[in-house]
């Protein structure tokens, strides 16, 4: 049986091995993804992001438990933790908070390291969600690294993005900065039993009240990626206001209400046409990334390392600027 067949039949070992091949950027991984791609597009991708220590993993654990108890859905979890910038190694510890999920055949947890990527996800995270999608998982939860202010890639990948906050992590000036709070479809105030929870909620609420219904435009490769067209017009009349949900994930408090909001958001996406818009955005991002890497590979094949190093040496000697170097290396083929 081919890898693709095994995966479509629900073979967990075949899936686990494919995920490794995708992560390692191996040719077999790419070949399998080509065959699996027609089977994708069904799963609800839920992104979970927020600062380190806000309780993302515990929350993901509770979300998955709730889905398993109430809706009998197949759940995949892709948990991303950072790689060391020096050694390339990583300790991936998200499973520690997810022990309640073990022994359930319909849950699949995979840890992955960023391997040098910056936006809060790894390069291959999107492709790994595709493998889960094709394998018939109804919900794929993507947990980002402990994110700071600008790790917003997950919003380009997920249908529904949860931003997890906890009391005591910053004053209201943090709430009006650009970045991570803007990408939230749902704001979660976790550790709701901690002092200061009301203040955190208040700061987030005033931030939301100030927010005007804006178009979602992603800066991508230096150019604006605007989500427009019919769907955008339709969605303006049905604007989604991110709800603020209080949870205590270690005790499961507020989880049912949070899941209700996630379900409502998915319905909103379908009614407003935003589901298709986000699908388009995601695939556009993927296509552009692939074009970029294939141009880079093409360049490496065309220009010898010797030539590249000669030009680099000229830059280091301050004989030419990097801009002039690009012109020389491209031989006028590209502007």
């Amino acid at each position: 049986m081919t890898t693709t067949q095994s995966i479509l039949n629900g073979d967990r070992l075949a899936l686990a091995r494919l995920l490794t091949k995708i992560e390692n950027n191996a040719p077999e991984g790419r070949d399998a993804l080509i065959e699996l791609f027609p089977h994708t597009g069904k799963a609800h991708l839920i992104g979970v992001t927020g600062a380190p220590g806000t309780g993302k993993s515990s929350l993901v654990n509770q979300l998955a438990l709730h889905y398993r108890k109430t809706e009998n859905k197949k759940i995949a979890i892709l948990a991303v933790d950072p790689s060391s910038p020096f050694t390339g190694g990583a300790v991936l510890g998200d499973r520690v908070r997810m022990r309640d999920l073990s022994g359930d055949e319909k849950v699949f947890i995979r840890s992955m390291a960023t391997r040098g990527s910056l936006g809060g996800l790894a390069q291959s995270t999107a492709n790994m969600t595709q493998a889960f999608d094709a394998a018939g998982f109804d919900i794929v939860i993507i947990e980002t690294v402990g994110a700071g202010q600008s790790e917003v890639d997950v919003a380009k990948l997920a249908h529904t993005t949860l931003v997890v906050e906890a009391p005591g992590l910053g004053d209201d000036i943090q709430a009006i900065k650009a970045g991570i709070l803007e990408i939230a479809d749902i704001l979660v105030v976790n550790k709701g039993d901690r002092p200061g929870v009301e203040n955190t909620e208040k700061a987030l609420k005033s931030m939301l009240d100030l927010a005007h219904p804006t178009e979602r435009i992603f800066r991508h490769h230096g150019s604006d990626m605007r989500i427009t067209g019919q769907a955008q017009k339709a969605s303006n009349s049905l604007m989604w206001i991110p709800p603020i949900k209080r949870t205590i994930s270690t005790e499961g408090v507020g989880i049912a209400e949070l899941v209700e909001s996630i379900t409502k958001h998915a319905e909103h996406l379908r009614i407003s046409g935003d589901w298709a818009v986000r699908d388009r955005t995601r695939l556009q991002v993927e296509l552009e990334a692939l074009i970029q890497s294939s141009l880079m590979n093409h360049f490496r094949e065309e220009v010898s390392e010797k030539k590249f190093n000669e030009v680099l040496e000229k830059i280091i000697q301050r004989n030419i600027s990097p801009y002039e170097a690009v012109k020389m290396l491209m031989n006028g083929r590209l502007k």
């Binding site: 490794t20 790689s83 060391s84 190694g89 300790v91 510890g93 073990s102 022994g103 995979r110």
Partner: protein, 132 residues
Amino acid sequence: MTDKKIRVLVAKPGLDGHDRGAKVVARALRDAGMEVIYTGLRQTPEMIAEAALQEDVDVVGLSVLSGAHMALAPRIMELLRANGQTHVKVFIGGIIPDEDLVRLKEMGVTGVYGPGASTDDIIRDIKETVAG
């Protein structure tokens, strides 16, 4: 261009709550450039085998300080095999009496490390067995 990393599951089976050693080893393997999945305390053999499968690891490192290694290790080896993960190498660290060492090796355990073992040795052994 492929980018292969050694993936290791570091697990604490059984009931002892001493995970200092496991964490020291996890950190050392990280610094050696490996990707270490840490599972936390009090894992059953079933939980460990399941995690090893989902994470498609090359190596499973078990830390056992309770003396229950002769009950836990064979069960984990059996489950790994039943799941089709015959290529996974198993290493054990803990308080292991000499007479058990031989039997563990016979069962297919690749390496056993007692108190005072150097993390450099563990790293070298893992790299050698995964490469070979």
